[in-house]
Symmetry: D4
């Protein structure tokens, strides 16, 4: 029975990069289980108050929600084999950088994904990663190589 | 194969809060395994002397039992993904607070459950938790959200 | 240069047990540094809002304060050699039990101090301790023995 | 001999917030040693190539520099008692969020500082902190309280 | 799916105490996997030289064997939930005490088994254990209680 | 259900020593899962640039590839029960020695394999190992003994 | 300022081997701090009951004492750089073997000292050590070499 | 009082690279303590047998010496802030690569030093380092920058 790899997909939630990686890995038959934060934006923002009671102060509204989300995210990052962190074109995305730092301190191999525009601003994050990618396909290629040893043009 | 979450249910043993959480989680189809201390009060008090021999001094009677119980509780807390700690209306319940501290030092996400009367006295415990609840239903809702991303009114 | 021992004194803040231990240790010439939570009750309750801004909701008032106090207490417990936890006659004192659990999970030797009335209720905490005492003098005697090997009636 | 606290000051480098905290702590006579990343912007960007040789590709220019800086930053964060992370008004500041995540995973108490505009975007970072501040004076007040137990209006 | 408990049985190899525990646990239907050192005495002594080549010096003969055995024993102890250590009537059995110390430092719950004659000599080992037993039946009773909550005379 | 042992096979990639161990273990019916670095030489050298883009500078070509390989190797070493490291007749094989050091610091039992010519040069590596072998058969014999307790001439 | 080495001297308490090592190290001017268990036999046996109250049952008499001693021994072993464990000619000395196992699991370098008669019985302990000595002078020679690089006949 | 940095200098022992780094750091007034393996070649080879008794078999001669050296090297690497590993022109130097792997697994920042000829063979080691240098002066420049923030041409 071969090892199943746990891959945590952190970061940007407005494009379909997760789906591309998941379907790409499925097409290659990789033994992987993907996990991620809750990517439903409104749920993620409101989960704390929806379950635990409303807060008039937005700070505590956010605090409650972020802590409930942390139950999921810290657990899954802590149990993953590889953490992929994508930075999209927009927004601050500090939670993505936070996850990258968190994963690094736990010695998880980190794969970063972002466009060339963010290169300088992300240099500390990139320097802590074992691979810096731009596309979901590159992540799939890395997983295929790391897990099964496949490399197009070499091993087939 | 999705991850199975191990949930430890610590604390008060005189109401049916554990059963409510367990049946609630079952109704939602959550992939969870619950564990808990031995909740049979007399067994828990007497297990040490019943198995290892009677003690005339109540201190050692208690000591033997508490150490045998610790074989179970520390192992299960140490292997859990989430620790839920409930403080009931009555009794000192120092073992519940001990478990909360123990789980915190192990970086386990802690969910606390207690009524509003205990809020001030439990402020240090609450401050170490990622969620402070009052009812079993809230715990089930958190598990449903954390594990499956479900949030009533949002994702359905 | 002999080792200096760091001793954290957790728990009850309404009697002078800390002062008794500190002066007892000083009389014996023990190389110890004592630390403790902030024991000024009102400061401890209000530090969060006094520094970071008022909260209309008592829960967040308490939360802010407890988290600021945790910066101190978790750091000092984590760096101590021995943790002494005293349970007084009154109040819930869940923070004391929390500290005992926290220290136990960090493998700190724990010395508990409490009167005989609390014996049964504290059995789990006692079972995790390496010594269960009733008086400050006993704690001083333990420190004197553990650190310098002194035992009245034996080594003098 | 009282404990000396090591405080790491991470984040924004374009205002004098570090100097304000350092001088404030000095005025209070706090036993602290502050450390920080190299805050000279050009040095920080170019240290890799200046010492180890030029790189025609900006990515590797940045990579070399970020890794040399990491020798300093990860070591100092790893040895600090408290990590303060400030997010300024401008720029992405992903390294600040990375440091906050890194420190959190190492169980370092984190104090965050930022203006109200960033509250929602920083909710995950704030939720991992033990204090969320807006001004250097608040950080000094926290250090004064945490280290010496001083709280203006209470203990003087 | 309930948890399967891994129980390591260390120590004396000249009586059938392991078989008694294993069959007792089987009779109770406990979800346990037992492991142990290689208990075939001659194999255990000679495994090093039999596989890796003879040694004229008995010290290196023993050294090679003990290191090969350590591959097994340290791995299994490190992955066990509970470590049972039995001291028999005869021999030095320093390896049993070594295993008890090794397991203690790894925070494994230790159950010791020995006759009353060894009580004083084993006081440090006993003091590090969570249960001190005399018979295999007591170990089975503890496992039954710890794993399933069964306690004869109480829960049936 | 008996434990499955994870065995990582590090080092030389130009002879069939891995296949010999794998088929030997299979013949014995050992419950083992073997893992290894990618042993396709060209893939291993080029995986970084093939997936992430070409580099004109050979140093960064190598760097990218080595970091992608590290995602695989550090993960598998970190999750293995035993690490076998073989040094062949030729080449520097510093990666093999690196893996041995890495595994040692993680407390993994290390089995080294090399010919007698390398004995003095490998003395530090050998001294950190629990067995020093010369042939794949010896490794299979050790696994058979460690996992099943089989030792030819003794237990059959 | 050169490093001061902390050396814990565990085991036999009936001969002057500790004094020989301490004076030998002093003669060589080694920067070392030695620590040890309390070696006053009666104090060590009775410290628990002398401080915490008498016990009619010898088991609890021993238990109390052993736990008080553990406050000292586990702390000092945990903070030492090197652990020396001596097995004398007589007695069971299971606490010495326990300490060796405890130190090994903490990755402390262990130096064992014993006569040739105990070689076979101590093979597991010896196999976990980095040096097996017979005399205090050999321990001093090792410390002199390890700390200062001195080796008689070579470096002078 | 500023932090003193502990720098371990591992690897090649036939040139004066250590002296160059040490004197360079001294010229810059850096608060550093350097440590290293014993660099006296014959002592390092013979320390085991010289202290613990001769061995007719060269393997055990080497084994004894390598284990005594490990008392020093593993302790000092484990307590260092930065590990510098130099690979010289000649010899296998597997111990240097072993140290690099050992330090990496302990999360120590590693600085590698070697000539361009070794680049491909050392790619895995380089990929685990935070800086790859060729000269002692570069190491001194890195230490000066990392510790004091000095960078020639920028900060003066």
């Amino acid at each position: 029975m071969t090892k199943t790899w746990n891959i945590y997909l952190s970061g940007e939630i407005h494009t379909d990069w997760r789906e591309q990686i998941i379907s790409g890995a499925s097409d290659r038959g990789l033994p992987v289980i993907f996990s991620s934060p809750v990517t439903h934006h409104e749920s993620s923002d409101d989960c704390g108050v929806a379950i635990l009671g409303a807060e008039p102060d937005k700070f505590w509204h956010d605090h409650k929600g972020a802590q409930v989300n942390a139950i999921r995210t810290r657990t899954l990052i802590g149990q993953s084999d590889i953490v992929v962190v994508r930075f999209g074109e927009k927004y601050k995305q500090w939670n993505a950088a936070f996850d990258a730092g968190f994963a690094s301190a736990l010695n998880k191999p980190v794969i970063v994904m972002h466009g060339p525009d963010h290169q300088h601003a992300l240099k500390e994050v990139d320097a802590a990663a074992l691979a810096v990618t731009q596309t979901p396909l590159q992540v799939v290629d890395i997983l295929d190589y790391v897990i099964k040893g496949n490399l197009a043009g070499y091993t087939q």
